[in-house]
Structures are given as C-alpha cells and as structure tokens.
Symmetry: C2
Amino acid sequence: MTMQTPGTSTSAPVFSQRRDWAADNVVGFMMKQAVDHPECISLAAGLVDPKTLPVEVTRQAAERMLGDDSMARTGLQYGTTEGSQRLRDLLLEYLAGLEETSVGELGIDRDQLMLSTGSQQMLALLCEAVLDPGDICLIADPTYYVMLGTVTGLGARAVAVDADEDGMRIDSLEQTLESLDGDGLLERVKMIYVVSDFDNPRSVSLAVERRQSLVEIAESFSDRQRMLVVEDAAYRELYFDGSPRPSAWGFDEDGQTVALVQTFSKCFSPGLRVGFGVLPPDLVGPVRDLKGNQDFGSASFNQHLLATVLEDGLFDGHVEGLRETYSAKRDVLANAATEHLGDLEGVDWLVPGGGLYVWMTVPEHVDAGFGGSLFNRAVEQEQVMYVPGDLCYIGVDGVRPRNRLRLSFGVEDADRLAEGMSRLARAIRAEL
Amino acid sequence: MTMQTPGTSTSAPVFSQRRDWAADNVVGFMMKQAVDHPECISLAAGLVDPKTLPVEVTRQAAERMLGDDSMARTGLQYGTTEGSQRLRDLLLEYLAGLEETSVGELGIDRDQLMLSTGSQQMLALLCEAVLDPGDICLIADPTYYVMLGTVTGLGARAVAVDADEDGMRIDSLEQTLESLDGDGLLERVKMIYVVSDFDNPRSVSLAVERRQSLVEIAESFSDRQRMLVVEDAAYRELYFDGSPRPSAWGFDEDGQTVALVQTFSKCFSPGLRVGFGVLPPDLVGPVRDLKGNQDFGSASFNQHLLATVLEDGLFDGHVEGLRETYSAKRDVLANAATEHLGDLEGVDWLVPGGGLYVWMTVPEHVDAGFGGSLFNRAVEQEQVMYVPGDLCYIGVDGVRPRNRLRLSFGVEDADRLAEGMSRLARAIRAEL
C-alpha cells in the first residue's frame, strides 16, 4: 500500500457507461465563469431575483408549521416516495386554477400527481422510465440545455425540431417524424419534449393551437409507437399579460399522452426544490419505482412548508409581485436594447410576454459563442456576461448558430440591467 | 380520439429497460401494510421516533436563518450541484469529530464531500457512476433492502457474502472473490457494499479489524479490477456505549478505495433529507455530472437550516438525547423478549449496541416470511407488525431464510413496545 496525495489518482477507472454518457454540465461551467468574473454584470444567470425571494412569507409559514407540534413532526419525519398527500391535494386545486377549471374536471386521480426535487428530477425520472440507449427524444431547437444533458446522459439521442416565435413548428415535427420513419427509426422515438410557456432560452411560448396539434400528432402515432409528450411548464406562472395559458396536457383527452411537469422554483423559491409531475396512469408505478430506488422521496419538510404557504393564502400575492417585478425589468432591458442597439442592422431581439429571458440575434459574422470574440470582449473588456446561445442548440443537421445570446433579466436590478445592456451594446458595436 | 377513464390504459407501453429492472419497492409495500392495518403495533417501521424529532431545535434554527436577510435569501435561492459550501465546511469538522481527528488530518479536499437528498441518493449515484448492467456488487447478507433494489434496478447483480455477528465475514469475501474469479467474473465486481455501524436489518457492526481487512482486500485486487467499497454509515451516530467507531474509510490510506456515505435522517430529521458522501477524488466529477442531470442540487434551504443547527451548537445535545431514548427502548424490547420468549428453544435475538433494530430468529419450521403463517397470525390476530427477514436477504445460492424477523424499537413508545413483544410472543408460541 503506497501513500498518495489526494487528487493524484493512479487507480484504474471504475466507471459505468452511464458515467461516460453524462455530459459535462453546462450549468456548472457557467457558474464557474460567474465565480471567475465576479466583477461582471450578469445577464447570464438563470437565477431568480434575490430581492423577490419570499423571505417574509416563508418565515410566516415556518412559524406556523413549527409552532404546530403535529405539523412540525410530520414535516420532520419521513414522507412517502410520491410525496405529501396534503401538498398533492393542494396542488390539484392549484392546477385547476391554472387550467381555469375545477378539481373534478381535471379528470385525474391524486396518485397521478407526484412530487420531486425541483422539476428537473421529474424530467430525469421520466427520461429514465422511457428512454433506452439509442432511443430518440424530439426537442424544439433551441432548448433548455440541462434537458439535453439528461437525454444524452442516458445514451439516448436528442433530435431537433425547428421552432419559430410560436414555439415548436408542427410542420417541422411532422417532417422530422416522416424522415425518421424513412430511416427506419420511428420505433426509437419515445418522447417529445416541449417547454410550453416562456421557454428557456427564448421566452417563447407554444401557440395554443399548436398545443392541440402536438397532442394529436403524438396520439396519431401511438398505434405504431407510443410517444410521451413531456410538457415542461417551469415558467408557466410568470406571464406578464393577464392570465395563464391552457396547457398542452389539457388537450390530452384520454390522458395517456402528456406528462405535465411544473415547479415552484421560478414562481416561489428555487432553494426549496419542490417540483411535480402529472403523469399518465401507467407511468405512475414505473416513475415511483425509479424514484424509490433513487431517494425514496424528496424532502417532506419542504413539501409541508409549501403546503402551509398555499393553505394560508400567502402564495398568490407573492407571485403577483413577481410578475410586476419581472415585467418592469423586462421593460428596462428591452428599452435599453432599443436605446443602444435600435439603429443597428442585423441586431434583433424578442420582447417576451413572460419568463426571464430576452433572446438576441446579432449579425451572422459575429461569433457570440463560447470562446468567441464577442463573449471574450464582453466578459474581459466590458465586464458583462451572457449565455452564448449556441449552448442551447441541438442543431438541425448538427449546425449550432453562434450568433445568438440569452440575456436574463432575472438577477440584476434595473440600474444594472440598463448598464449591462449599454456595455453589451459597446461590445457588439466593436465586433461589427 | 376516444375518451377513456383514467386508469384504464390501453396504450402500448413506452418503458425503458431500466423501468423493467426497477424492482417493486419493498418500502412502499411495507407502508401499504401499515396503512391497511392501522390498528397494529408497529415493530416494522424503520422510521425514527416521532417524539425525538427536533421540533424545538429546528424552530430555533429556522428563526435565526429566516430572521437574517442574507442567510434567508441564500437558502431560498438555487445552490450548486455539490451543495452548500457553508454546510460542507461544517461537515468536514463534523466528520473529523466522528473520526476523532482534525480536519487537516482527514486528508481530504472540501470538494470530495458532496451533499445529496438523504444518503439513499448518494448510494444510488455511486451505483450509477460505477455499475453497468451485468456488473456485480458484493453485499453482506442480510442487508438494507432498498440498496438491493438500487443495484438490481441498474441491471446489475447483488452477490451475497456471509455475515456473522461481527458483520461481513472476511473469509467469505475472499472465497466469493475466488469463486467469481474461477467463473471468469472477477472483472464484473465493481463494488463492495457494507453498512459498517448497526446495520439494517440486524444492528450488527463490522468489527474494526475487519474494516481494515476489507479495505486491504479491495486494494489488493485493484491492479486486476478496481472495486469501490461503499461504506454506508447511516446509523453511525446511534451508538449506546460511549463513542463512535472509526470508519473503514479511515483505513483507506491512498483515498482511492472507499466512498463513505452518511445521513442526518437517523440522527436528526429524515424530513430534511440531507445526506452526504465522501468520495475518492476521481469519483467527484462523475458523480457531480450524474447529479447535475438528475436534479442539479438538493434543497439549499435544508442545507442552510442544518448548517445553522450545527453552527449554533444545537446538534450535539439533540443526538445525545436520541441515544438515551433509543438505548432505553432497546432495553424495553429486549427485556420483554426475555420475559415472554426466554424459555423457548430455538428462539434467539441479538441485543444491539446501537441502531434501531432487534433481529430475531425463530425455529426453522416457523414461516415468518411475507404470506407466511406467523406474519399473517401476528398482523390479523395479534395486531402486531414486523418486517419479515426474508426481504433483507439476497440469499447465498438464492436461498432466503424465512425464519427471521426485524423488530424495530424506533417508532413505538415503551409501553407499546412491551405490549407488541407480548403479542408477538403469543403469535410465535401458537406457531410452535
């Protein structure tokens, strides 16, 4: 036995194939950028605004929960794999509110609603329950990059479907399915993933009529190959203009096609990591078995804390405040873009109706990607950081556009958003 | 499109092979038994005593954390995949205390300590990072049944190693390795799993000299096939007799062989689901990548709550109280066994020095297994429930003894423990 300094491993690797598939984590890499450049104004971080975090609301809920002996002990004890019945019942009501219907009309059993550690765990569990190595998940391009890692981390393949300003294009979905069928690959298509409201990275929503078409197309293939539509509605509550959209899940009349995944990370607190999925009945057992093996239940404490927030009517006021805050910050960022970049040919951006991001396109010859000239200039000279859009692309035919930027108005305050856009505009002009 | 009642699925299955491997969850099945028989005294539940849950300590910590604006916002915001640096630094000190050494002498970097959702998630991540379908994990038999599900849920194989009252037998470990080598299977042995302190289901600890031998054997094979020793120390703090044992991990001088996994579920609160792993340096990246894809971090709120408990010196007093409570309850259950079963030939039990369980053996012709006569009689006629020991066996050559019972003194109070043992004794006598 020889002594070695930790970190200087000479042992043979012992890793599974799954380990090899687990891609380098983009979120981790972006966080490292942020740590290495603390002086930067961050238009990169997909975090929620720290000033909006529900400190007072959580304090009130914790006080009631921990002041009630029985409620406290329930929260501190083990829960079940599927999560607190108390919270799941409250979430049926909550979901009915978003769908503008009643709990009865939702047409689901409480057991179909399962809690998870953020929505990411539910997305990962659904992928594990459905995707074998070599299977295909169709994804609107660009998309939420963590999901790409989860799909490829299982040895499965993400295949891009074109998207426009109304989300995934239905004609492109049909063409992609036909093309895969022509290649003898239709039987490998097990999943279609969409972020229906204010997606990451573009804050684009899937048009309501497309939601219905998407479900119908998936259903129409189900006698040849069942395809699970995974609807990620992480940003659903962050609409700036009146009311929530009906989900694609609501168009799934026989309840076999769509799994709806939501979270309280964006609309309440990411630190609690409470997400949930509404699953087709035959997915419930498999997903619960997988979660049983992985952690046999997310933190019961957090579930009861959030249940107390909902029960005590502390949630609605909080999320209304959030909408006002983010809406005002969207205006600041969009107005600053108009002020500093409005006259520039080939520089465009989407002004979103909700969510946390402004998606910007610069002329094709500008390299906004990682390691590219614009990114380096922005970070090193102008001290402003963004997420290079190329990270969010699968790429139709593998081509990932390098002239897109994801700009978040989540974290920084109004003054720094305006200043950040001014700096970014200088960097862009210098590249032209 | 046809309307269907939820639950009457006629769709084709869409499931991955992993789903097929995910065994029916024993914990879930036992919970269902408990729900179906609420009248029973439960010597089955592996829960901690609800009366010992740290309500007041948690209330104090929550008050300080949520009363400090900066600390509150950190807890309510996203954390990192590996978990809060604040808590991980505190856990280095905590671990040094258990190992009776200093943080410096631990010889590890903070980055080697990663937080998880309970220890179960860390066990599952380690299995995913290491085990491919067909790979082998050696396990002392009987063992923690959830781990069996996790191993087989990956398509890997659990192979039994004999254990006695000092835990895994080293001669049996060597014989098993030789025998697998003879079958050309040595290259599939990637992991050795041990619960080193007061294991589930027997509350037996691995003798200290065996800990060292175990590490040496794993190291001695590492030029042919690297084997990761996974040391599950979930019950480590629950010793009734003076002081914690040194871990097997402490004998791993080059730091490449053992992953130590601990949790605050047993010694503080299961509802917080805070566990951690101390990993060999080259496992850190792979495990973090896998966790990144699964949930990109456990709940930051809970990590900061527990950090506040540790910082404010609220932990030690709590766990000392726990040891007293469980030690007294062990005495009640063991004394009741002596009173009601002491004269019976072929009925024996282990009086543990820590943990939550008494392990009982009844004569071989008594069927104590699920669906067996004793279990049915105990539940239906005597209204007392236990965990049939056969659930905890892999079985050497697949033979699972059906004359063992796991009796927990975790949940019920002293009176009900005594009454429960009296009822169980009546059921056993009726079977003889």
